[in-house]
């Protein structure tokens, strides 16, 4: 039964629609990836060029970071897809658990060092 599993299959088991869907998905992934690289470049530029004043740079790159984070979750981690309830639930749990912890840590450690 499983003897032939190592041989390549002559024909894909996917239907035509499924192949189309995968191709579309791939395009979306690449676009998202390119866009994120662009965002990263922007952040580097904002810091590296020293043309913009720091009062603007810091909130700006933080905003970029948040956008990246959301994009990563939705596109790379498939939060946008249907039938991903379990992974989504875990991702949400992680965010819900980690956010207060990180906020508390920032507040507690702050700038004062014991």
């Amino acid at each position: 039964m499983s003897d032939d599993l190592s041989k390549p299959f002559s024909q894909s088991a996917l239907s035509h629609e499924e192949i189309l869907k995968i191709n579309r998905e791939r395009r979306i992934q690449i676009t998202a990836f390119a866009f994120m690289i662009f965002l990263t470049l922007l952040a580097f530029l904002a810091v590296g060029m020293e043309m913009v004043e720091p009062g603007f740079t810091i909130p700006f790159i933080l905003l970029l970071a948040v956008v990246q984070f959301v994009l990563q979750l939705f596109y790379f981690m498939h939060l946008k897809d249907k039938d991903h309830q379990w992974p989504n639930a875990f991702m949400m749990t992680g965010i819900v658990v980690a956010t207060p912890a990180v906020i508390a840590l920032v507040l507690l450690l702050g700038v004062t060092k014991y």
Binding site: D3, L5, A98, P100, A104, L108, L109, K113, Y114
Partner: protein, 624 residues
């Protein structure tokens, strides 16, 4: 490829165990490894209690005592109780959800071997200038390069490696429980042990990652000249405490939730009643898990973080008492009006309830900030957490051992010896630890290797030590029982020696390697009980009999673990004064073994093998 491996049977027994990916065999491996570490750490506890038996005793030096304390705590938590829990999860969870194995059998074996070699690495420290001695919490600066020797490097790298094993096992269990349930086994029909196993695995994923990060930072500080925790170089030692307890508090729930699960299996089985308030139990588990991430500062009340923070975390801590109370009442109501059989498993399970309540009550006491300034770092704390870890977790594990033993090994443990063990252990436990509350209140500090005469501590310490010897005797009786029963106990041939309720008891004894010849159709909570009462006494199959696809064993999990071990040892050699060979050679060897084994696993295609239908029929006839 697939057919030749069916002839695997004539390989040697040892090779079979080293390469196994069968969850039932891995459970036995976990059980043995965990028990060995438990005995080792228990012996250290006995030695510490001998030292504390009288004032100004000189049985152990202060340094040795510190090493014993650290190793006792570290081994008990990471290398004894964690694998024992994984032993029962490995054995019971796939059977309880009606699966043929875990989702990733190879990863399952990998988790075991990585854990095992990590534990070996920690233990090796004895032979290289002494064990770690900064307590299981390894607070900086005590654990920094300035104050601690090589032992701490073994702690850091050994725990890093064994933690990795624990982490991947946990991921495996999450996937298994979500994806491998038999038809009809909805989430809300899962036995509570599976639920707590799932939640524990989730906690491991979220808690062991901060630990890994913290250990990595400490490693950078110690071995590579980092300064994350060095105040004079701009680092922050309190950061370590935060990271450690963000992991550390969930860790206690990682250990106790599966014990809750075992109790929730054993109590209904021997009360002849269904579990009271199943849904409430599930949600209480989830709430406890969530809250366990929100309370870590209660270990740091005296650090000086400030009254507002302390109050917030104190209230969050007390809130955990609510879902825990729900569980306590549910166990009581399960027993209420039941037809209770008090065998050893049930004795352990039912006495778990009051002991755990005591540990919980002192926990709430400790959560009150002003009083914690008095209790902190005294024997009161030691008494509190031993009521949880021994009175809770150890009793839960003992109950699980007596309960699942007939399924795992084909015979029961002797009841008389079992009851003797229980009473020795239980009375010894209260003698040892109850009196430590009072010792703490009159001011005996924790983690001290001796105390002065004439402070009113001699008698109580003596009582405590006598209790510890009784517990030790209890464990010895358990070991005798295991050997004695192996020779004299009557072999079990029936499926269900306890007349229990969950799916694992619907399999034949011994359980064939494929668990279920046909995947069962689950029709209710407590499916096996349902079929016994409303059905025909056997599970309804959900599929026709057919060939069964099984995974092949592999030696690669062992070699990956070995590679990590060598690699970690090489890193430690970087710190040695004059290592025998260049550390980088050792590190390189380790890296090559690790990644070479991974590469081998990737390029070597292995689709497993099939057990043919006629062979299954033959096996079923033999055992059925």
């Amino acid at each position: 490829m697939a057919t030749e491996t069916a002839a695997n049977n004539n390989k040697s027994v040892l090779w079979d165990w080293l390469t196994t990916v069968d969850h039932k065999k891995l459970a036995v491996l976990y059980l043995i490894a965990g028990a060995l570490f438990f005995i080792k750490a228990g012996a250290m506890a006995i030695f510490m209690r001998i030292q504390l038996m009288s004032a100004e005793n000189t049985f152990l030096s202060g340094q040795t005592f510190n090493e014993f304390i650290t190793m006792h705590g570290t081994i008990m938590l990471f290398l004894a109780v964690t694998p024992l829990i994984f032993a029962f999860m490995n054995f019971a969870v796939p059977l309880q959800i009606g699966a043929r194995d875990v989702a990733f059998p190879f990863v399952n074996a990998l988790g075991f071997w990585i854990f095992f070699f990590g534990g070996l690495l920690v233990s090796l420290s004895w032979f290289f200038g002494g064990a770690p001695d900064a307590g299981w919490t390894a607070y900086v600066p005590l654990s920094s390069g300035e104050y601690a020797d090589l032992g701490l490097d073994f702690y850091v790298l050994g725990l890093q490696i064994s933690g990795l094993g624990t982490l991947i096992s946990a991921i495996n269990f999450i996937v298994t429980i979500i994806n491998m349930r038999a038809p009809g086994m909805t989430m809300m029909r899962m036995p509570l042990f599976c639920w707590t196993g799932l939640v524990t695995s989730i906690l491991i994923v979220f808690a062991f990652t901060p630990l890994a990060a913290g250990l990595a930072l400490l490693m950078l500080d110690r071995i590579f000249g980092g300064q994350f925790f060095m105040p004079d170089a701009g680092g922050n030692p309190v950061l370590w405490q935060h990271i450690f307890w963000i992991f550390g508090h969930p860790e206690v729930y990682i250990l106790v939730l599966p014990a809750f699960g075992i109790i929730s299996e054993v109590v209904p089985a021997f009360s002849r009643k269904r579990l009271f308030g199943y849904t409430a139990m599930v949600f209480a588990t989830l709430i406890i898990a969530f809250l366990s991430f929100m309370v870590w500062v209660h270990h740091m009340f005296t650090v000086g973080i400030g009254p507002i923070t302390n109050s917030v975390f104190a209230i969050a801590t007390m809130a955990i008492g609510v879902p825990t109370g729900i569980k306590i009442f549910n166990w009581l109501f399960t027993m209420w009006g039941g037809k209770i059989t008090f065998n050893t498993a049930m004795l352990c399970a039912s006495s778990f309830v009051p002991t755990f309540v005591l540990g919980g009550v002192t926990g709430v006491m400790l959560a009150m900030v002003p009083v914690d300034y008095l209790y902190h770092d005294t024997y009161f704390v030691v008494a509190h957490f031993h009521y949880i870890v021994v009175g809770g977790i150890a009793l839960g594990l003992l109950a699980g051992t007596y309960y699942w033993y007939p399924k795992m090994f084909g015979h029961k443990l002797n009841e008389k010896l079992g009851q003797l063990m229980f009473w020795l252990f239980y009375i010894g436990f209260h003698l040892t630890f109850f009196i430590q509350h009072i010792l703490g209140l009159i001011g005996m500090p924790r983690r001290v290797f001796t105390y002065l005469e004439g402070q009113g501590m001699e008698t109580m310490n003596l009582v405590s030590s006598i209790g510890a010897f009784m517990m030790g005797a209890g464990v010895v009786v358990l070991l005798i029982n295991i050997v004695y029963s192996a020779f004299t106990s009557e072999r079990i041939t029936v499926r269900d020696p306890w007349d229990a309720r969950t799916l694992e008891w619907s399999t034949t004894t011994p359980v064939p390697e494929y668990n279920f010849a046909q995947t069962p159709q689950v029709r209710s909570l407590d499916p096996w009980f349902y079929e016994k009462v409303h059905g025909e006494g056997l599970m309804k199959p959900a599929e026709p009999m057919d060939d069964i696809h099984m995974p092949n064993g592999s030696i690669l999990p062992l070699t990956i673990g070995l590679g990590l071990f060598v690699w970690g040892f090489g890193m430690i050699m970087l710190e040695m004064a004059n290592p025998i060979i260049t550390p980088w050679i050792v590190i390189g060897t380790g890296v090559i073994i690790t990644f070479g084994s991974m590469l081998l696993h990737s390029i070597h295609e292995d689709h497993g093998y099939h057990i043919p239908l006629d062979k299954i029929k033959k096996i079923e006839k033999e055992v059925g």
